[in-house]
Amino acid sequence: MKLLTHNMLTSHVKGVTKGYPLIIKATEVKVNELEFNAQFVSRMIPKLEWSALIQAAEWLGQSQDLPSALIPDYENDEEFLRKVHRILLEVEVIEGCLQCPESGREFPISKGVPNMLLNEGE
């Protein structure tokens, strides 16, 4: 599971109002290499919940030198875009789980795939 996807995921259990962001408890993390595309990264940045991204990066111990608040002129700052590219698309959670901040319900992650299947009555 890449952190870009994690930034989009919420708990869709019935009755949960604050199911975002899901807390990451990772036991295995991998860093791959992916081709850098500046256009895509700068288009996705406005869609992101920046604070949730920084928090997720911290949980994985990958926060490195990402600023805690979004810098204003990021489109032209290639170094910044590369850092964001790395954290969004190159860092992957392979094993672990996602925990709902409101209910505590856990969604396990296995082989990089989070299991979002709900139980009866959820």
């Binding site: 996807t5 989009m8 869709h12 895509f40 299991n115 979002m116």
Partner: protein
């Protein structure tokens, strides 16, 4: 249904899957492998993915963030990656997702049931495609499941997950018109506009159905493909809008007190031989309340 394309020897397994539709009868390891290694299957799925992306009408030369519902072993997802897009795939079958992992797909995969709703924040995706997956929602595998409810939960969460003006394209093989009506009714209820695009409507082999839904903005429905010598009379589009026709001709009769109703009543009385005023330009004219 994609099952049509699998060779005859698999028909028995395939037919049981069709009939029961249970979560556990979705593709298991054996079927998942066969599905992904069959070269004809790969060719067809790739072609349908290509057409679906074409119908999405995404801005040119721009990498987009897309959702692939029922991504399975990633055959359609591979096409998305090749077109330069980033994608997230959702599927209910662990076996199919395992094959996708083995094939090292570039998109991010999620194990989930689309009938339970999509677990995303609002407005995230630039578009959504789904190849041969929507029909699974029309089967009720448990007594507690209601297909319309599941369809609605899927469509309403999809509607919110899409950015404004984004499209969702579903390639489907509709079993019958009731199934099609069920799907489109729930999609409209969720707020989508759009319609069916039919490619090659006159060829039973090449005919393909694509349900094109627009989120937030009413677009012009793309034209279906057709071979050169088609009958012009065959329409290959069916447009539906968010307009609801209320009270129009309920029970086949005109609404009471409308002009139609008044004219019909006058005709009826004339046939009965009664004395009826002649029709003038003032007949059935709307009068002010104090009249």
């Amino acid at each position: 249904m994609c099952l049509k394309h699998i060779a005859c020897k698999n028909k028995i397994i395939v037919v049981t899957a069709l009939l029961s539709g249970s979560k556990f009868q979705f593709y298991n390891e054996q079927e998942a492998k066969k599905y992904s290694q069959n070269s004809r299957m790969i060719e067809i799925q790739t072609q349908m993915s290509e057409r679906a992306v074409e119908l999405l009408s995404l801005p040119e030369d721009q990498p987009c963030y897309l959702l692939d519902v029922g991504c399975g072993s990633g055959l359609s997802g591979d096409y998305l990656s090749e077109a330069g897009h980033y994608w997230v795939g959702v599927d209910i079958s662990t076996a199919m997702l395992d094959v996708a992992l083995q094939r090292d797909v570039e998109g991010d995969l999620l194990l989930g049931d689309m009938g339970e709703g999509l677990p995303f924040r609002p407005g995230m995706f630039d578009g959504c495609i789904s190849i041969s997956a929507l029909q699974w929602l029309c089967n009720a595998d448990k007594k507690t499941h209601s297909p319309p409810k599941r369809l609605y939960r899927f469509f309403s969460t999809l509607y919110s997950s899409l950015a404004r003006g984004a499209r969702a394209v579903f390639q489907i093989y509709p079993e019958n018109s009731e199934q099609l009506e069920l799907i489109t009714a729930q999609a409209m209820k969720a707020g989508f506009t759009g319609g069916m695009v039919v490619d090659y409507p006159n060829s039973s082999k090449a005919k393909k159905f694509f349900l094109c839904l627009f989120a937030g903005v009413s677009g012009v429905l793309p034209k279906g493909l057709c071979s050169e010598s088609t009958d012009r009379g065959v329409s290959n589009q069916a447009q539906f809008t968010a307009q609801r026709s209320r009270f129009k001709n309920m029970k086949g009769k005109s609404v009471k007190k409308s002009k139609d109703w008044i004219m019909e009543k006058k005709e009826r009385r004339r046939r009965q031989g009664k004395d009826v005023r002649a029709d003038t330009k003032y007949t059935a004219r709307h009068r002010k309340p104090r009249f």
